[in-house]
Symmetry: C2
Subunit: 328 residues, 2 copies
DNA sequence: AGGTATTTTGCATACGTATGCAAAATGAAA
DNA sequence: TTTCATTTTGCATACGTATGCAAAATACCT
């Protein structure tokens, strides 16, 4: 806003045409070194900055990525945000940020991003409604679902290997001697929670073990309250797999408050490996989601689709690993 | 990208001019109800969406706010981000997000925001270099420093009442019986850390008490390591004021690891009242930064400056309050 | 019905930039 | 120096929209 030095002003001062000024700022365009220098000197003197809107109007492209993030307060996601921002910055892309609390993205948020002609969209931990899905597929704007997948593979999604990971966690708890386990789920109907439950229960069932499932909401308070509820039932499991770390920390705190020894009486495993999981107070055993790899996968796909849209879709799973600490 | 239905297409289908189509989408413009309905029906049929770039090119305005955020991993800032996003969304503004690790904002980040002609800029917990400052003042883009102030009041800043708060914390620790206290500072040269130290030391000195200052970096690890260092010196203070909560949690964990009883032997006070401070495991006494009020103050100023730029500057302080928990 | 005031509409243009295309300039070889 | 190939440049235009202004339409009053 307010700086109205144009390419025409620069051209006049440099003694060249507006086209030449434009060419100086357009990568790969044909412009002589002499002209380039004249333009740069003039531009600097006048404080010229190219107008991105005029550019985008002509090119029908932007260097903006829409990032729709649910649950920014879960410490997993600020780290994700940070890595996306840094990676896209290196590629010359900016982030148009939307925060949401909804499991399903609002049409108005998508409309906003579309109005700004974003080059691509990333949605973390949320899905799209049916009509928004249809609109999107028609639009040919590349989209990645991050930490959420859709079963019919309508879009490209990047997740940790939730199913496999949860099987391994179940096996690990069994190996550690657990015989009566519980699973504390996140928000209902999220692919992450469903897969984590599925993997876990398949192993538990295969071993003919008792199993209790509780539903919570991916928050510390949710984990804490659910654990208080479990304790009130007087049937304390000897192993609890919690669908994410922030919830698991609430579980740990509730168990401790009730003088339940961890891991001697009850073992706790989280999922994410957020920063707090490694704090000495918690020392949580958890499955690490490989953020860097997941971000990389997402960015690679988006960049490829931006360069040449193919509409290719896939559910990509990136392998994480079990981080064993003191809760097991 | 890619949706090339224009106002001209809609106009043709609706049997009106492109101007009339434009007027339907421009608040307050003169357009009859009959024309409006014809346009809306046609627009819906064609899937028209106004092109924000063409608009901004004409109006020389956007509905984008640039938000430059340092240290997104400190749980204080995701909450700030969430509240800014929600508040600006209600006002029809979008967020162009920049994450930085630098104490001083990079010129390239500001250039990017300026190229997108943002309506205003918010910078959290970081300052501007001298030449960027000059550029900015000339640009007439409204700017707010959030949780950072500059002594010569070149910009509008919104902070918690750090000085006053720290005095009260010192008084509180004295009242609680402390006689040998320490202050653990955040990043050097930040106004928040400086003011928190200043307020604290002024009371401590007035009471002729011993005082030790340590410098850390506003991270959990920083707090943890600094405390290990303090403990290694064999002079454990009976009260520690820590410049922010995430650091204070590291302090608490380090004290515990060394079997130092909190608060019996050492009392700990943080600053922020992040979510983790209230967790039963920590139950940290802290000064609550009133995020909602600070966000509100920031948004009100920006909106006023966007409507009519005045260049008004001030260092605004919003009162927080002491939240007493189990560490004191 | 006529006159006046107000509202609505379309025309023409501009916003700042990229780009197709032809002309001009440059470089290299004979 | 001339010829040919390649690079560079400027002209003219378009991108999609908002807006100034005059004309047209509508509303209201006598």
């Amino acid at each position: 806003m307010k700086n109205n030095v144009t390419a025409k002003d620069v051209a006049k001062l440099a003694g060249v045409s507006q086209s030449s000024v434009s060419r100086v700022y357009f990568e790969g365009a044909s412009v002589s070194k002499k002209t380039r220098e004249k333009v740069i000197v003039a531009a600097k003197e006048l404080g010229y900055r190219p107008n991105e809107f005029a550019r985008s109007l002509i090119t029908n492209r932007t260097k903006i990525i829409g990032l729709v993030m649910k649950g920014i307060q879960n410490p997993f996601y600020p780290q994700v945000l940070k890595e996306f921002t840094a990676t896209f910055k290196k590629l010359g892309y900016s982030i148009l940020f939307v925060s949401t609390n909804n499991d399903e993205i609002q049409k108005e948020d998508i409309d906003m991003l579309r109005n700004y002609n974003v080059a691509g969209v990333i949605i973390t931990d949320a899905s799209l409604s049916l009509n928004v899905t249809e609109d999107f597929k028609e639009s040919q704007v590349p989209l990645v679902l991050f930490n959420r997948k859709i079963d019919n593979e309508q879009f490209y999604s990047v997740c940790c290997n939730n199913l496999d990971a949860s099987e391994k966690i179940a096996e690990y708890l069994i190996e550690k001697g657990c015989s009566d386990v519980a699973y504390i789920a996140g928000n209902a109907n999220t692919s992450t929670s469903r897969d984590r439950e599925k993997g876990f229960t398949s192993i538990i069932e295969k071993n003919n073990m008792p199993f209790h499932k509780y539903t919570s909401d991916y928050t510390y308070e949710g984990g804490y309250k659910t654990t208080q509820k479990i304790i009130a039932e007087k049937k304390i499991p000897d192993g609890i797999f919690v669908a994410n770390d922030i919830m698991a920390l609430g579980v740990v705190d509730a168990l401790r408050e009730n003088s339940i020894m961890i891991p001697a009486e009850t073992k706790v495993v989280g999922f994410d490996n957020i920063e707090m999981a490694s704090w000495p107070t918690y020392n949580l055993t958890t499955w690490e989601q490989p953020i860097t790899k997941m971000v990389e996968q997402t960015v690679n796909y988006l960049m490829a689709e931006i360069v040449e849209f193919s509409g290719y879709t896939e559910n990509v799973e990136v392998n994480g690993e079990l981080i064993v600490r003191k809760t097991t």
